[in-house]
């Protein structure tokens, strides 16, 4: 599974993307976030305000109860500020 991070999430985690093998126990965005937070302080800081973070699965916005599976492209980022 490919995970992408943007803006200040990228900065806090220290990576713009990573390829991970999804543990069998993880099957939602929420579960993925819990698992990522367990990996270190950078993740914990990046996901501290979970309510403001947006997620996309395969380049479509999703809610955090959305399913995830190996092979998906997942992205996490702050609210967008384009235009």
């Amino acid at each position: 599974m490919k995970i992408l991070y943007f803006a200040w999430m990228r900065q806090r985690i220290g990576a713009s993307s990573e390829d991970i093998d999804l543990p069998d126990s993880v099957n939602t965005v929420d579960g993925l976030v819990d698992w990522l937070i367990s990996r270190g302080d950078g993740y914990a800081q990046a996901f501290a305000k979970r309510g403001v973070i947006r997620a996309a699965v395969n380049q479509e916005y999703v809610q955090f109860d959305h399913a995830v599976a190996n092979g998906d492209e997942i992205a996490f980022f702050p609210p967008v500020t384009g235009g």
């Binding site: 943007f6 803006a7 380049q59 992205a75 702050p78 967008v80 500020t81 235009g83």
Partner: protein
């Protein structure tokens, strides 16, 4: 048409190309967003030296195509255009251009505002402002969320 690019764009040439060859067009509404030299950051107005736009390659294009299709579904447009830049820009530089051509001016205006409102809330871009207090990620503005809400209902085709 949508374009996501690092290079600058020429508004005159873009608008001319948009309406070229279609004399059914009665008007072209457009909006160009520029980098401002000042911004309120945590209650203090700070000078901006540069602004860096980050985006999500792939998803950005996909969302812009979808937003443009939605605008063309809602209003009778003869042509539409969204150009959004990324990379590092200076105050006064052009960030975005949205233009809508239609037989009727109200459709052109409404579609143009609709696209700008959606860009602000749904296009995966993030702005980092470099100031004398360091780099600061731009926060979402409440007014942008409100601006988008006015499009929750489709327009009355009779209006």
């Amino acid at each position: 048409m949508i374009r996501v690019q690092e290079e600058d764009f020429d508004i005159g040439a873009e608008l001319a190309a948009l309406s070229a060859g279609d004399t059914s067009i009665g008007g072209v509404a457009s909006f160009a967003g520029l980098v401002r030299d000042m911004a309120p950051i945590d209650g203090t107005v700070r000078e901006i030296t540069t602004m860096t736009l980050e985006h999500y390659p792939g998803m950005t294009e996909k969302k812009l195509v979808a937003i443009e299709a939605e605008a063309n579904d809602r209003w009778p447009l003869a042509a539409s255009l969204i150009i959004h830049r990324y990379g590092t820009l200076a105050p006064g530089d052009q960030i975005v251009l949205v233009a809508c051509a239609s037989v009727h001016r109200q459709a052109a205006f409404d579609a143009c505002q609709f696209l700008m409102d959606w860009l602000k809330t749904d296009a995966p871009f993030w702005k980092l402002e470099d100031t004398d207090a360091g780099g600061v990620w731009v926060d979402t503005r409440d007014s942008d969320g409100k601006a988008k809400l006015r499009w929750a209902n489709k327009p009355d085709p009779a209006s």
